[in-house]
Symmetry: D2
Subunit: 359 residues, 4 copies
C-alpha cells in the first residue's frame, strides 16, 4: 500500500513518501484488518522538552482516532510506563494545545529504563494495559530506548524527532529547533539595539552540547561577528584578531555567539580571556532554558503535525523501529539505529557565509 | 567551475549546487578575469516589500564587495533606474539592517517600466552609470521586468524571490513568507485565547490574492477549523456544515482562515452569509499589511543571505536571466521565464491534514 | 482596622489605602471572627474577556485561601450561577495560569441575569451552595449585575475592573487595557515597516465602542498621524487636509488609527471616502479580537494581582457593593453605582500631544 | 503662566501640572519673548541606553521645533559636547524612530566629564555652538553632570529619566523600565513552559545593581517562588526552605528571580549553593543586556513623549536644574539634587504579595 523506495545508501535513510504528505490519503479508516488488529496505541514525550511537542501529541491523537484506534497518553516519558501513568485521550484532550510550549504529557529522563529488567517491566505494563504500539516523541536517548523495546520485547514503536538541538541524524529539522533559533535570535536583536547605541562587545551563549546547529543558525541570522561551535576549534587569539579586524573596518560593536558545549556558563571564561588580552569588557548573556520554551513557530507546528500523522500512519501499517523525519521537504523514515549512531555536525557553509556577511 | 546538472524536466529548474551553500567556496575573490570584467553591479528591491529583503540587500552588498565588485543601491525599484536614484554602497551601508522589516532601498511598482521605451531608457541609465549587472529582489512582476531587460538590452540580471505570498514557481519558499505566516499565526493564537473563553466563531482574513499558501500554512499551524483558499471552492453551506459538525463534537469555538483573494475585506461578506444561515455572529479580523512587516524570522534571514550570495556569485560567473531559489535545501537556478509563467497552487495535503487534525 | 479616608468629592471615589499595597499586611489569617463568619466565597469573570483575568483569578483564589476562606469558581459568568456551574478551587487550580490570556472560568453575557426573577434564583443558588460572598471580575455591565445582587438580595459582592476598553470610571487602568494597547501597537509597528518602504496610507481600526482610550494610547505611542475617537468628531475633509499637510512637510507615509465605534469595519468606509477625495489608496487593517488575547503584560498581571487581593481583603473585611481600582498608584474603592454611571472620555491631551509629535 | 504648587515636603518634589499633560496647552508658539530669547537647544542621551530614549528624542525635537526653537543633537552623551559632535535636527531627523530600541544619538559614560576643567570646556563648546539650553535624557550619573553644568556654568538644563533600572527618585517610572520588565517577563514565561513539563528549579538573573525594582516587578508578574533583591537579605537556607515548602504543597517546579547586584553571574553561585544543600540541579539564565533592548512598550513611549515635551516646555519657560518625572499620573518636576541623592528601595509590598500568590 505504501511504496517504499530503494534505500539511499549514502544518506542512510529510506524515502517514505515522494509526495510530501501523500500518505494521509492512503488511510483506510474503517478497515480493522488494515490496522493489523492494533486497537490501542500509546504516545509519550521523552528527553528534554521542545516547543511543538504538543502539536505532535495532538497530531498523533487525532490521526489515530480518525483511523479507528484508541490512544493512551503516557505521563512523564518512559518512567510513566514503569509507573503506569496512563491516561485515555480523546479528541478534546488535545484541544487548544497546538500553540502551547512544553508538553502536556510531561517528559523526563529515566535512568531505570536504561536497564533491561526495567524495560521488561515496561513491556509487561504496556501489554497489561492493552497498548499494542507506541509513538515516541523525543531525542536520540529516547530513540535508543524505543529501539531496545522493539529488539528485546517486540513492542512496535515509531518515533518523531523532538529536541531543540536538531542533533538527530536523518531529518533536516527536529521539532523545536526552529522555535529555539528564533527565540535566541530575538534576544540577539535586542542586544543589537544596545550594541548600536553603545559601542560594545557581547557574548551570547546559546544551547548546543555537542553540535553547533543552534549557534550557526542564530549566528548567521543574527549577523554575529563570530560563532563558537563545540565541534570546531577557534582560539581566543583568533577571536581577538577577528574583533580587532572588525573595529579596523569601522565596526563599533561586535556580537559573538557561543554554543554552551560541555559547560553552561563558559561564556564568562571567554569574556575573561578576551578582557585579559584586549582590555575590552565583553558583556555576557546566557539564554539557557529560555530556548526550550515559548510558543512554537509555524514550521515547528507544521513539522510536528506532519510527522505525528506519519508516525501513526506508519505504526498502523506495520512500520517498526523507525523514526519519521523530513528531508528535502519529503517525509522519510530512518531506522532508529541509523538515527542514533550517525552524527550531524555544524554546517561549515553557514559559518563561512556568516563570516563573509559580517564584514 | 560550477557543475550544472541536467535539467529536471518535471520541475522545470536546474540544480545549481548539490551542496547547499557550496558555491560560496568557489569564489575566487582576487580574480578579475573571473569577474568577466564586471566591476560594478546594482541591487534593487521591487514589488511589495517583504521582511528579509534587507537581509538580502546586505548579503548582495557584502558578497559583491568581498569578491572585488562595487555595488550601487537603486532606490525605489525600477522607477529608481529611470530617475537615476543611485547610491554607492559600502560595507557599512548595510550595517545593522539584517533584523529590520521593510527595505532600506524602498520599493515600488513602476507602470512605466512595463513599456519598452522606458526599459530602453533604463538600460541607458544603467550603462551611463557604469552598472554592468543587476540583482533584483522581488516577485514575479519584478522578474518579468528583469527578463525583458536581458532580452531587449542584454543587461545581465539575476534575481532572488522576495514576496510574502510565496507565489513564485521554482523555489519552495520566498523571502518574507515564513515571517508573514508566523505573524498571522501570532494573531490566530491571540484569538484562540478569547475563543476559548467565550464560545465564539472567528474569521481571520490573511493575504493571498491568487494562491492560498499563507492561508494553508497559517490554517494548519493555527489549528483552524476551515481554510478558504482562492483557488479552491468551498460553499457557504459546506462551511456551515463543518462548523455545526464541530459543535456536535464538543467544540466550543471555531476559527476560520480565509485568503483575501481578489477582494480584501471579503471576510465581512462571509460572516454575513454565515450569520444569515446560522444566526451565529462571526467576529472578523483583517490582518492586511501587518503581514508585510515585522522583524524577519531566522529562516527568512538565512534564505535571503544564501540567495543574495548566490545571485551575486552567479551574476559574476556569467549567469543571466535566472532566479536563484531553494528546493529541498539546495540552491537552484530557475530561468525567469519559468519562474514567471508556471503557477504554484495551494497544497491540498495541508488542507487535508488540517481537516483531520481540527477534529 | 482599615483607615477609610474622606471621600474625594470631586473624583467620586474613596482612597482605600495610602500605601499602595499596604492592605496585604493587615490580614489576620487565623481569625474567623475577622472573616465575619464568611467561610466560602465565589469568583467569576463576566463580559468580554481580557488578558490578565487569569492573574486576577489566581490572586483571588490564593489570597482567600491564605486568609482561611474556601473559594468556588463559577464557570461562564452570571449564567454559571443560574446553571450552578460551581467548581471548588484550591491552590493548585490556579497554578501556571498567570501568563495565560483569556479566562479559565470562561465568561459570557447573560441576558437572563438582567431580569429580577433570575437574579432571585441566582441568590438562592449561591446561598444553597454556601457561597457567602462574591468577587466579580468584569466591566460595567458586570458591575450593574453585582450591584443589583447586593441591593436586591444582600449578596456581598466586590469587583475588579477587567476589560480591554478601559471604560470604567474610578480606576486609571482596567485589567487588559495595557495588553490590548501593546498588541495593537505591535501591529502598528509592523505596518510602519511597510509604510516606510512604500509611501503609503494606512488605516488601522482598533477596539473602542464608546470611548477612544485604546485609540488615543495606540495613536500616541505609535506615532499616528491622525486618531479617530468615537466621542470626538473629525470630518473626512479635516483628515484629508491633515494627510496633505504631512505630505507637504516631507512625510512619505501616514498611519491613521480609528476606534471601531458603533460599527466594526467602518475603516473601509473611511478609506473609500478618502479615496474619492484624494485618489489615495488607503490600506485597511481591522485588528478586532486580536486585541482581547495574548499574554498579559507585566502591568496587567500586577494590577490584577493587587486588585484581586484587595477585592478579597475588602470582601472579608466587610466591604460591599464596591469596585477596587487603581488611582495615582493607590488602591481605591469606588461604589459600583459610581463606577457604572460616570463616564470616561478620550483624553484630549493625548490627542494634542500626538498631533504635535506627528509633525 | 504655570501654576507651581507648594512643594510636598514629604516626597521632595513639586507638582508641575495637576492635569496630566495640561502643559502642552500653555505653549505660545509664536512668542519669542516667551522663549526668553532661547533660540537653540541641545538634546543628548547619556548613561546606559534604554528603550524609549528615541521616543524621548523625537518628542524633544518636535516639541521644540513646534515652539519655534532649533534643536541640535549631541552624539555620544557628554563626550559628544567635548568632541563637538553636534548635528542639526529637523522634523524628519526623528521620523520613524519612535519604535526603535537604543538611541539614535548614541550614549556613553564620560569619565572626563566628572572633572571640572572638562565641564568648563563643555560649557564653552555649547556657547560657541549657540546652544543655549540642554535637555538631558539619562540616569542619576547624567543628572549629576547636568546639575554641575548649571551650578558651575549656568547652562540651563532640564532632564528626563531614562534608565531601565527605575532607580531615580522622584518619578514612579523611568523610561525603559516597563520594557525591561516585560522583556524579562517574556523570558520567564518561556521558562515556565519548560518548568511545567519537567519538574525543575530555575534561577533567572535580571538587571538591578543597587535596587530590586526590576526583580520585584518581574517576580510578582511572573509568579516567581522567590525574589532576591540587592537591598534585602535572603539566606540560602531560607531559599532552600521555601523551595521545599513549595514542593510539599504540590509544586513541581520553582522559578527564582535574582537581581544581579554587584556581580553579574552570581546566579551560578546561588545555584551551586542550592545544589550542595539539596541535591537539586538549578538551571540558570542570565538575561543581561537583553533587557536594555527591544521595541519600547506603549507606556515607555507615552512616558517619553510626555516627559520630553515637558522638559522642552519647562526649559523654554525658565525651568533649570530639574528633572521632569511622573507621579500618580501627574507630571512633576524634581530638582536634580533631590533626584540624585535620595534612594528608591525595593517595594516590600510587591515581595509580600508575590509571596502570598506564589503559594
Amino acid at each position: 500500500m505504501i511504496e517504499l523506495e530503494n534505500p539511499d545508501h549514502k544518506s542512510g535513510f529510506f524515502i517514505f513518501s515522494r509526495r510530501q504528505t501523500a500518505i494521509y490519503h492512503l488511510a483506510d479508516p474503517g478497515g480493522t484488518a488494515y490496522l493489523g488488529g492494533m486497537k490501542k496505541i500509546g504516545v509519550l514525550t521523552s528527553g528534554g522538552d521542545a516547543p511543538g511537542m504538543n502539536a505532535g501529541i495532538r497530531s498523533v491523537v487525532r490521526t489515530a482516532i480518525s483511523q479507528g484506534a484508541e490512544v493512551v497518553g503516557i505521563i512523564g516519558g518512559y518512567s510513566g510506563i514503569l509507573e503506569k501513568r496512563f491516561q485515555d485521550m480523546n479528541l478534546r484532550s488535545v484541544a487548544n494545545i497546538i500553540q502551547r510550549g512544553g508538553t502536556i504529557l510531561k517528559t523526563g529522563r529515566s535512568l531505570e529504563f536504561m536497564k533491561p529488567e526495567f524495560r521488561k517491566q515496561a513491556a509487561e505494563n504496556l501489554q497489561a494495559a492493552g497498548i499494542e504500539g507506541l509513538v515516541c516523541i523525543g531525542g536520540d536517548g529516547s530513540f535508543r530506548g524505543a529501539h531496545a523495546l522493539w529488539q528485546e520485547h517486540q513492542i512496535p514503536v515509531t518515533g518523531i524527532p523532538g529536541t531543540i538541538d536538531n542533533d538527530i541524524f536523518g531529518t533536516e529539522n527536529t521539532i523545536g529547533f526552529d522555535t529555539a533559533v528564533n527565540t535566541a535570535l530575538e534576544c540577539i536583536d535586542k542586544i543589537r539595539d544596545t550594541a548600536a547605541s553603545h559601542d560594545r562587545l557581547f557574548i551570547v551563549e546559546v544551547m548546543g552540547r555537542n553540535c553547533g546547529l543552534i549557534a550557526s543558525h542564530v549566528g548567521l541570522a543574527g549577523g554575529a561577528e563570530l560563532i563558537f561551535a563545540p565541534d570546531l576549534v577557534i582560539t581566543v587569539d583568533q577571536a581577538v584578531e577577528r574583533i580587532k579586524a572588525g573595529m579596523n573596518k569601522g565596526k563599533t560593536s561586535s556580537i559573538l555567539v557561543a554554543a554552551e558545549g560541555q559547560k553552561p556558563g563558559r561564556a564568562y571564561d571567554l569574556a575573561e580571556q578576551i578582557r585579559k588580552k584586549t582590555g575590552l569588557d565583553a558583556k555576557v548573556c546566557i539564554l539557557g532554558h529560555i530556548q526550550r520554551g515559548g510558543t512554537p513557530t509555524a514550521n515547528d507546528r507544521i513539522l510536528a503535525s506532519q510527522l505525528g500523522a506519519a508516525a501513526v500512519d506508519g505504526l498502523l501499517k506495520g512500520e517498526r523501529d523507525v523514526m519519521f523525519g523530513m528531508q528535502g521537504n519529503q517525509i522519510v523514515k530512518v531506522p532508529f539505529e541509523t538515527a542514533t549512531t550517525q552524527v550531524k555536525s555544524t554546517p561549515k557553509e553557514y559559518l563561512n557565509l556568516a563570516n563573509i556577511l559580517a564584514n
